[in-house]
């Protein structure tokens, strides 16, 4: 009987293939580690850049008054000039803040008003008075928020894949004009 000694070519090929797959998996793991570190680095840099932009706005608000924020304009964009941020871009958006419950409250008060008018004295104050109070409160909160709060969104984006695509991170700040809050005259 002839003994089958050694490995066949197929066995060797399969073994090599398994080894190759293992090595590729290992090296891709290293690549992921490298790219994660790079991403962490870029995110740290982007956070610092966005914080610096916000610090500039805060500083100028202190110097020129909080109206500086209101006068910034709705949208602005540009590129960073420092060497460390070559090819990086930023956008800044300033928005008024609306009272999130305003629409719901308005809808509710409209229904209450209609109910008050059609059914007479069904509410404790009568004739849709509660609806009017709610409407007044809602209008005043909405006006106060609109006049005194601004939402500032700073987006910093940096090139990836040799400038063909951009990654980005966003920082959102809220600035409150306490002077407007203190001097607020409610709508009656």
């Amino acid at each position: 009987m002839k003994l089958n000694k050694g490995f066949t070519l197929i066995e060797v090929m399969i073994a090599l293939m398994i080894l190759a797959i293992t090595l590729i998996a290992l090296s891709s793991g290293q690549g992921v580690a490298l790219s994660s570190t790079r991403k962490a680095k870029l995110t740290t840099m982007a956070t610092i850049a966005a914080k610096n932009m916000m610090a500039d706005i805060e500083i100028m608000s202190e110097v020129k008054g909080v109206t500086y924020v209101k006068d910034l304009g709705e949208k602005a964009e540009g590129e960073f000039t420092d060497d460390e941020y070559k090819g990086w871009k930023w956008t800044r958006e300033v928005k008024e803040v609306t009272f999130p419950l305003s629409a719901i409250m308005k809808m509710f008060t409209a229904q209450e008003k209609a109910a008050g008018e059609s059914e007479g004295e069904q509410t404790p104050l009568g004739g849709g008075a509660e609806a009017q109070i709610l409407d007044l409160v809602s209008t005043n909160i909405e006006k106060l928020m609109k006049d005194s709060i601004r939402e500032i969104t700073v987006t910093v984006s940096w090139p990836v894949k040799a400038g063909k695509a951009f990654s980005s991170m966003k920082l959102v700040y809220y600035v409150v004009d306490f002077e407007t809050v203190q001097n607020f005259v409610p709508v009656m």
Partner: protein
């Protein structure tokens, strides 16, 4: 087994060995690089966290000009009722060093005679064990005294800091849009009794493993409450104090930055 078979087996073995060794080597190098960079950025985040907290909480107390506190204090000093002159707050910075009072102190032990206020300083110092490497050092003491540049516990915040520089933002100058300056002294001169609105910190870190690997970061930190009097009040307070009292015994006071005690 023929010679040809042995040679082929050896060739396959050597190819596999080369693959394994080189991939392990690459893996080790990548691990070192990743860990080096992680350390590097961790050091940066630590530094910025310290700066952020201490600088944004810089504490400025000024004498109450309305109640005549400053005059009383100056009179007490003149009459030697106050033997030890203790400033309550100061902010003194150059391009390389920063000394200031802050309300960032954290009490660790229960019932310690300490408050939130402390004196803090930041500067670079050569590592005693590794010549050529600079450490970023923080000094902190919960006891604010006239030894601005001394005393307090010393901590090494980070190693391998190639350079550290500061700039200070004054609301005055450049047609009053404000200006950045390399020097600030709230104890005398142009900025007496005032704290800057913001501080810009520039740090260049170098990797301890590879000195060519450098990272430069600039961060602007706004003081949460500079608590400065308006300029007319400061001028009035300063002139009143200096005209009614002898100069302070140390360089800190200059008369008008006396403690609000």
């Amino acid at each position: 087994m023929t010679l040809i078979e042995v040679i082929i087996a050896l060739a396959i073995f050597s190819i596999i060995s080369v693959f394994t060794v080189s991939s392990t080597d690459i893996g080790m190098r990548i691990k070192k690089k990743v860990s080096d960079q992680s350390d590097y950025y961790q050091a940066l985040r630590t530094i910025l966290r310290y700066f952020d907290r201490d600088i944004s909480l810089a504490y400025h107390a000024f004498p109450d000009t309305k109640t005549g506190q400053m005059e009383r204090l100056q009179a007490a000093k003149t009459n030697l009722l106050l033997t030890v002159y203790t400033p309550s707050s100061y902010f003194k910075g150059t391009k390389e060093k920063l000394f200031f009072t802050s309300s960032s102190h954290q009490r660790i032990y229960k019932d310690t005679n300490e408050t939130d206020t402390c004196k803090v300083s930041y500067y670079l110092e050569q590592d005693p064990d590794h010549p050529g490497i600079d450490n970023l050092v923080k000094r902190e003491s919960p006891f604010i005294d006239d030894k601005i540049e001394e005393s307090g516990a010393k901590y090494v915040i980070a190693s391998g800091v190639q350079s550290l520089s500061f700039r200070y933002f004054s609301p005055k100058g450049v047609t009053d849009d404000g200006t950045w300056t390399d020097r600030w002294d709230s104890t005398e001169g142009e900025y007496i009794n005032t704290f800057p609105l913001a501080v810009e910190v520039t740090i260049v870190l170098e990797s301890l493993q590879n000195k060519d690997n450098k990272l430069k970061v600039v961060e602007k930190i706004k003081l949460l409450s500079p608590n400065n009097l308006d300029s007319t009040a400061i001028t009035t307070a300063t002139s009143t104090a200096t005209s009614t009292a002898q100069p302070a015994s140390t360089s800190i006071g200059g008369g008008s930055n006396a403690a609000a005690q």
